[in-house]
């Protein structure tokens, strides 16, 4: 599938801002069934400095500083990307979950792709006994790792309510878990905490969903904004699982960045010199293109 993406982020500040330092993670990732074809970001006001590098996990990161005093700050990212993922693994095959845990504990690589980076608590994903206990039902002794992860995803979707009013970007995991509601970020953090509580590796993925579903299918949650889901390491490969929509990640999802949690992959992070209120608006378009014949 070939997609045309546009991600527009606009901040409006009450008081003028004289200085901003930002990190942008907006470029579609390469690999695991994705081929980025083009990527362009326009920032207004024009940055004074801008450098691009890969972060620890290999996510493309643009660091920039803006020194022109401004009240409006716009980041307009446009990309084209081809997505053709291999089929999802069969939940009935693969390693037992205890074996996956043992393999990760005995791992020796510290490289960015190593699953052992995704087992420990992280800034936004504390490990809580109640969340770990929630996970246990999906992982009976000797059960398959992939089957357990799919089961956990089904249960989260069944037990939790999508509610964009219930949480904000900074809502702690414990609160979203206790209230059994939230958005894609909360669903993903909760599923990650549940898996890690049992010593299983799980990553947070930020990206997009196609805006309009294929004909005859329902529109998915999170299609009009940036989306987030979970990547689970099943002992052999990463498996994308979207607990917000209870589906395995296939060609409707476009991966931008992978990290331990939201804090590692926030599309726009930054610090401004200024005071007073700010408002934010985000618009995302994900449109399939006709493949050239």
């Amino acid at each position: 599938m070939l997609y045309r993406l546009r991600h527009l982020t606009a901040y409006a500040y009450r008081n003028p801002v004289g200085f901003a330092r930002c990190a942008l993670r907006l470029a579609p990732a390469a690999g695991e069934g994705q081929v980025p074809l083009s990527h362009e970001v326009v920032v207004e006001p024009a940055p004074r400095t801008a450098t691009e590098r890969g972060d620890f996990f290999g996510n493309r990161t643009v660091s920039l500083t803006v020194e022109t005093p401004h009240r409006d700050f716009r980041i307009d990212a446009r990309s084209r990307v081809r997505v053709e993922r291999p089929p999802l693994p069969d939940p009935e095959t693969g390693l037992a979950w205890e074996e996956v845990r043992a393999r990760v504990l005995g791992g020796t690589g510290l490289g960015p792709a190593a699953p052992l980076h995704f087992c420990a608590p992280s800034r936004r994903v504390p490990l809580l006994p109640e969340v770990t206990d929630y996970a246990r039902a999906s992982f009976p002794a000797g059960g398959g790792a992939v089957a357990g992860a799919f089961d956990l995803m089904h249960r989260i979707r069944a037990d939790f309510t999508f509610d964009s009013e219930a949480t904000e970007v900074g809502t702690p995991l414990a609160q979203a878990f206790a209230g059994r509601r939230g958005v894609c970020q909360d669903f993903s953090h909760i599923m990650i905490a549940a898996l890690r509580g049992l010593g299983l590796p799980a990553a947070y993925v930020s990206g997009y969903l196609r805006t309009l579903p294929p004909p005859g299918q329902p529109r998915l949650e999170g299609a009009d904004a940036s989306h987030a889901w979970v990547a689970f390491w099943c002992g052999e490969e990463w498996v994308g699982l979207d607990p917000t929509n209870d589906i395995g990640v296939q060609d409707d999802h476009i991966v931008v960045a992978r990290g331990r949690d939201y804090a590692d992959v926030a599309p726009v992070a930054g610090i401004i010199a200024g005071s007073g209120a700010q408002s934010l608006s985000v618009a995302v378009d994900v449109v399939p293109e006709e493949e050239d014949a």
Partner: protein, 845 residues
């Protein structure tokens, strides 16, 4: 184990001890009689065979030359010095400082034994540097299975943005500390490594100054190794990491609310580093600068005393308010060197301990000289099996630094209850890699003088090492914490722990070497450079203002009490008193204008609940001073403490008018002393101008207010008398005018007389002088806003005439003085309108 305590044998006094052969020997025998080391644990004072160890024998014989009461008095004086100079610390979560408890005898270590410790500490520092280089480099040690990769990757101190960053200056670790105790076999071993931002070196320094002063004859007789050269070497080592000649070094502090702030201030002052908070720093154009009153000044090296994760809210912990955004980028670009690099806390973690012996063999090709506790990482199946076999005998702790984890930071020690055991087993089942097990710790003991004799108490010794171009250098001394109870489980900093100096005794060849070192530890390494961060200037300015306002409130209160004492009940009197009351009320010093004079005075002086009381202003002044510790002398700090104490209500809550007046007068003499100290003792480059400007602005504003309230057209004799009293000018007035008070001469004296150090005119002239002495940010030679405003006001005052001066003009002057204070703030302080000011940090969603 219940061995009988070893009996201490003391050699009989030599027959030629004169003139009083028995007194010292008798004392020595009495001090050590009944000294009973704890069974099965080594002790510093007595050897296994029950004899005094030679160093202690020498030390105690010297000490025995002093009578008990003298020793008690000397140690008490040492404790008082610590109290008075405010060398204090905070336990985590406390907002008020506690005195650093000292008063213990020094810990003595023979030169020969010390060399073993020093070599072991230096080796560990080198080893940990090599491990950090690998973990933040290509990870070969993990690939080779020499350390557990999963534990490293799960450690919150593994700061991924630093992976692949070559540390500017070539190394991660610049300052290292190890906590040591003796094992049951008497050999030293390491309880923990401190690689994050080791604290305690400043306390070691202060303890040394205090103990050398308390026991000079003993200190001199024992040939104790000096520590000053170590600090010099540390400074040189940091300076050597910079790319510029004569680099500027900042101490990046965790701020006045952290438990080690005072220690940081002591070190900044001693080493000549600029004490900077994150808000003082600005990263721009590939350069790290300090915001100062003279604009941005490049800083070359930062000695980090905040946790690595807090260094940069953009790339590291977004919740940090201590760091500066962009610092990691600056490190990546080599624009600044940092000691220690962010991320060095990683090798403090317990999971590494089990791997260190093998790592030492592999990386350094030699055995580990100073071993740690026997430790097992539970993430490894074989080690876990060994642990489970001895589950009940072992202690457990979190494998990673305890800031985050599956459980609380407390070590699961001995005596765990059923619930704790259950929790432990759950973690071992679900996430065994989160735990290490280790042999329980039993601390060895050192003698503590309890006032009449010596008793054994458990202790921990912290030893410091600094990286220098010539290799690791270990401070010959250290920081010793001694428990006040005989409980031999590891001591924590907090209640019931006292600090002791550590004396390393020169022996043989090192004695000659020691004489090459500076003769005294009092030698200051550098003076504080003439660099004044905007934030410090802000605090200095407010220190001056609060002190001046406190003084004004106290004077006003004294006038109230004075008037109340008079028998007269004349209408005039009451009117004057009402004016005083309403001004005290307007200033927030009293809750109401009604009430007995003594009651109001009590509020105005001592009511902390009144924001404008003398006590409240004294407290605010102390708060400002607390952020300026490296810039204020010990005398200043003592005077501030005394002012605070003088203004506090007596414990029984009763205060007669006479007693109140007495307290007010005492407080006034202390504000005068503080003004004198600032005038005489403050380095003119170090911020005197800002304290003085704060004082001058406030005094001028107050003088205007007094003139408006008490010097109106219908002012009575009483009013004018109070006015003279308030501006402390009754005596000069009396000397100048024989005929008694009259409106125009009084006004002239209060407002216009440039020779009266209390007049508005005098304050404004001083403001002009101070501003002229400050650096300008303008290239065009045009005066900056504060100086322009002051010049305008000064001209107008010079042209005014007391007899015809309308009160509206005085009121306008008061407003213009406020505007001057604002302009000073906008130009020089953080939060001002200048473009180079720090900002409120707002994180983008």
């Amino acid at each position: 184990m219940s061995e009988a305590p070893a009996e201490v044998k003391v050699a009989a006094p030599a027959p030629h001890d004169r003139p009083r052969p028995d007194a010292p020997a008798e004392r020595l025998a009495r001090w050590t009689a009944g000294y009973a080391p704890l069974p099965g644990l080594p002790d510093e004072l007595v050897a296994d065979d029950g004899t005094l160890r030679p160093a202690w024998d020498r030390f105690l014989r010297c000490l025995a030359g002093l009578p008990d009461c003298e020793i008690a008095a000397r140690l008490a004086a040492a404790g008082r010095h610590i109290h008075d100079t405010g060398i204090a610390y905070r336990a985590y979560g406390e907002t008020t400082e506690r005195d650093w408890p000292i008063g213990a005898l020094p810990l003595l270590i023979e030169g020969a034994e010390w060399q073993g410790i020093a070599a072991g500490v230096a080796q560990r520092a080198e080893l940990l540097e090599a491990v950090l280089t690998d973990l933040y480099g290509d990870g070969a040690l993990a690939r080779a299975g020499l350390l557990p990769a999963a534990a490293a990757a799960g450690d919150p101190e593994f700061l991924r943005p630093l992976v692949g960053v070559a540390p500017p200056g070539g190394r991660h670790l610049h300052f290292y500390a190890a906590d040591l105790a003796r094992g049951p076999d008497g050999a030293w071993r390491v309880l923990s490594d401190r690689t994050q931002a080791p604290s305690g070196a400043g306390h070691a320094l202060e303890n040394r100054l205090v103990m050398a002063r308390a026991l000079p004859e003993v200190y001199g007789a024992l040939e104790v190794e000096r520590v000053a050269a170590f600090f010099q070497a540390f400074r040189d080592g940091l300076a050597a990491t910079a790319t510029r000649e004569d680099p500027r070094i900042g101490l990046m502090t965790s701020g006045p609310y952290s438990d080690t702030y005072v220690e940081q201030a002591v070190l900044a002052r001693y080493l000549g580093f600029a004490l900077v908070e994150g808000d003082d720093l600005l990263v721009r154009d590939g350069m790290v600068s300090i915001r100062t009153v003279a604009g941005l000044k490049r800083v070359d090296v930062l000695w980090r005393r905040i946790d690595g994760d807090f260094v940069d809210p953009l790339e590291l912990n977004p919740a940090s308010r201590l760091g500066a955004p962009g610092l990691v980028e600056a490190l990546r670009a080599g624009a600044v060197a940092m000691g220690n690099m962010p991320g060095t806390g990683l090798v403090e973690s317990a999971w590494l301990a089990a791997s260190l012996p093998a790592l030492c063999e592999r990386l350094l090709g030699e055995p580990l000289r100073l071993p740690g506790l026997p430790t097992w990482w539970c993430g490894d199946p074989a080690q876990r099996e060994a642990v489970m076999a001895r589950f009940d005998a072992l202690a457990f702790r979190p494998a990673a630094a305890p800031a985050q984890g599956a459980f609380t930071s407390r070590a699961f020690g001995e005596g765990r209850d059923a619930a704790e055991t259950e929790r432990l087993r759950a973690v071992l089942r679900d996430r065994p890699g989160d735990l290490v097990a280790h042999e329980p710790v039993r601390l060895s003991t050192a003698p503590v003088w309890d006032g009449t004799r010596l008793v054994p108490r458990p202790f921990v010794l912290r030893v410091f090492a600094a990286a220098t171009p010539e290799g690791w250098r270990v401070m010959p001394g250290g920081f010793c914490r001694i428990s006040e109870t005989p409980d031999v489980r590891p001591v924590a900093m907090g209640v019931g722990v006292r600090a002791a100096d550590v004396w390393v005794l020169s022996s043989g060849p090192t004695a000659a070497q020691a004489t090459l070192l500076p003769a005294s530890d009092r030698v200051a390494v550098r003076r504080v450079p003439g660099l004044l961060p905007s934030r410090a200037a802000d605090n200095l300015f407010w220190l001056g203002r609060h002190l001046e306002r406190a003084e004004a409130v106290i004077r006003l209160t004294a006038c109230l009490l004075d008037g109340a004492g008079a028998v007269s009940t004349a209408e005039e009197d009451r009117a004057t008193s009402a004016r005083i009351r309403s001004l005290l009320h307007a200033w927030g010093a009293v809750p109401s204008v009604e009430g007995a004079a003594a009651e109001l005075a009590q509020h105005a002086l001592s009511d902390g609940g009144q924001w404008g009381s003398g006590l409240s202003h004294a407290l605010s002044a102390r708060r400002n001073a607390a952020s300026l510790r490296e810039r204020l002398s010990g005398e200043t700090w003592r005077a501030l403490s005394a002012l605070h104490a003088a203004l506090e209500a007596p414990a029984d809550g009763t205060d007669s008018e006479a007693a109140l007046l007495d307290r007010a007068e005492r407080a006034l003499s202390l504000t005068a002393a503080l003004a004198g100290l600032a005038q005489e003792n403050m380095n003119r480059a170090g911020g005197f101008a800002f304290v003085d400007m704060g004082r001058r602005v406030e005094r001028a504003v107050n003088a205007c207010r007094f003139a408006l309230d008490f010097g109106g057209a219908g002012a009575s004799t009483d009013d004018l008398g109070v006015l003279l009293e308030l501006v402390d000018s009754r005596i000069s007035y009396g000397a100048r005018y024989i005929l008694g008070v009259a409106l125009a001469p009084v006004r002239d004296m209060v407002l216009l007389d440039p020779y009266n150090p209390r007049s508005v005119a005098f304050q404004v002239e001083r403001l002009a002088e101070r501003l002229a002495g400050l650096p300008s940010l303008r290239q065009d030679g045009v005066a900056e806003a504060p100086a322009r405003l002051v010049a305008g006001l000064m001209g107008e005052i010079a042209g005014a005439e007391a007899a015809t001066l309308p009160l509206e003009t005085v009121a306008a002057w008061e407003r213009r003085l406020w505007a001057i204070a604002e302009a000073i703030g906008a130009r020089y302080f953080p939060g001002g309108s200048d473009a180079a000011r720090p900002e409120t940090l707002v994180t983008l969603a």
